[in-house]
Amino acid sequence: MSDSGQPLVLGIETSCDETGVGIVRGETLLVDAIASSVDEHARFGGVVPEVASRAHLEAMVPTLERACAEAGVRLADLDAVAVTSGPGLAGALMVGVAAAKALSVGLGVPLYGVNHLASHVAVDIVEHGPLPSPTMALLVSGGHSSLLLVPDVTADIQPLGATIDDAAGEAFDKVARVLGLPFPGGPHIDRVARDGEVTIDFPRGLTTGRDLERHRFDFSFSGLKTAVARWVELRQRAGESVSVADVAASFQEAVVDVLTRKAVDACRTHGVDHLQIGGGVAANSRLRAMAQSRCEAAGVELRVPRPGLCTDNGAMVAALGAQMVMRGRTPSGLDLPADSSMPVTEIQA
C-alpha cells in the first residue's frame, strides 16, 4: 500500500452499455472514465446485448488507458482491482470480469468481484464521505427500483422492497416513447417537464388500501405507464391536442411522489435519519427537489451523488472495492464467474 496508507483501487463496470473505469485512493475519487455505447442502441429503442458486449471489448483498453493517464496513476502502483460481477447482462459482464482478472494476474494484485447495486450505494462515500450506519438507500435506475436498509455497504444490505413490474427508469423510457421522445427517455422527460404543469392526476401504484399493506415498500410503475399511454391515445383519437410538457410533468410527478413518499416512510419506520438516492433516475431534477423538501420535513438528511456518479460508472465499483480492501475482506478467486442475477444481499462474489 502507498505511503498514505490508503489503498489505490481500480474499478471496472460493464454490466450494461457503459464501459466504466474508475480509480480511487481510499475514499477519494481520482478519476471516472467512461465510454458509452448508448448512441449505438438509440435507434433500436433499447439496449441490444451483443452490441453492448462488442463495444465493451473495443472500449476496455482505451478506457483503462485514459483513466490511468488522467489520474496520473501507474498500473504498477495499484493495490487491488474491483469489478462488477453482477447483476447485469451476462455477456457484457464477462468482458469486464475477464479484463479485471487479466489485471489481477498481470499485476499480481487481489481481485474483488462486487455487486452492481451495492456499488450504486457505495459511490456516495467518495462524494460525501463515509456512509452513516444505517443508511436508507433508494436505488432507481433503468433496471432497478429498490429500497434498501444498509447497516454496512460492504457486508449487510437488507432489501425492504422493490418494483413488482417495471423499474422507474424503464417507466421513464417507455413513457418517453409514447410521447415521441428519444431513447433513453428519462433526461428528455425531465427537460420537457420543466415547461409543463402537473394537470393530470395519474395513478400512484401500491399506495392505498390492501396494496399498501401488502407492498408497503414495493413499487409498481406498469399501471402508470399504461394509464399515460391510454390518456394520450384517447385525446389523440378525439382529435384533441396533447401537451407533451403537461403529460411529462404529470407522469414525472406521479413517479417522484411515490418514490419519495415510500423512501421517507421507510426512514421513519426503521428510525433511519439518512437517505441516499442512487441510480440513473437520481439525476432527475424533480426527484431531487421533492426528496429534499420531504426529507427536510421529516428530519432526514438527504445524500445524492452528482448525476455522473448516479448512472453506471467505474468509480462506484472502485469505491466499494476500496472499502473491501480497507476492511480486510478476503479477495474473490480467479475463478470468479459473472452472475447476471446476483442478489443485492450478495455484496461480494
Binding site: 429503442g45 433499447g46 458486449s53 483503462l64 488507458e65 464477462m94
Partner: protein, 226 residues
Amino acid sequence: MLLLALDTSTSAITVALHDGSGVRAERAVTDARRHTEHLAPLIEEVLAAGAVAPAELTDIAVGTGPGPFTGLRVGLVTARTLGFALDRPIHGVPSLDVLAHQGSGLVTGDLLVATDARRKEVYWAVYAVRSGRVERLSAPAVDRPGDLEDGVRALPTLGRGPLLYPDLFLAPLPVHDVSAGALAEVAVGRIRSGTPMPVDALYLRRPDAVPSVSTKSTVPDGWRGA
C-alpha cells in the same frame, strides 16, 4: 522470447507458454460455457508450470476466432488487457488457422476446418498442406454445413463440425478444439517472418439487433429484481 498464447474460440479454454524454441507448458479445459471462470486460473497454472513471472513475458498471442461471441471475447479482452498491463505486444492469429496447423501433421493436400458456429451453422475455411506448410485457400466464413460444396465437405475435416453433422462431413480427423501450444507455434513463426497479426475479433456475423420494445426488454429474467 517468452510468449503466452491463449484461445477461447472453441469448446476448449486453452493456454500455453512458448520460450522461442518450443512449448514449455500447456493447459486446457473443455467447458464451452464457462470461459470466464477457467481462463485466468489456467494462465496462472501455465506460468507456474513454466516457472515464469507475468512480468517476464515478452509477447501475448491470442486466437481471434471466429467462434461463439461471448467465449471469444473472454480470450480477446484477457489478452488485450494483459498486454496493456504488462506493456507487451499482442499478436492475433485466426483460430481456424491454428486448427489447420494442428492437422498439418496428419494429412497432406487440402483440408477443411469446420467449427461449431451454433444456430445450425459452422465456421469454416479450406487449407492446403504441402510438405508440412499450411496455406489458407478460402477466407473464414459462416454457413449451414449443407450449403458447402460436396467437394469441400468431402475433405479431411478438423473441428467439431463432423461431430455435430456426421452425415455431412465424411472424412473427420480426430482434432476438435484449438490447442494453445499450436497457436503459440504459429504465432512465433509469424512474428519472426514479420506477418501482420491484427487482434480484431472475427465475428463474421452482425449482432442480432432486434429493436427492443423498451430499455430492458432484451434483458434476461432475473436481471431486474433486487
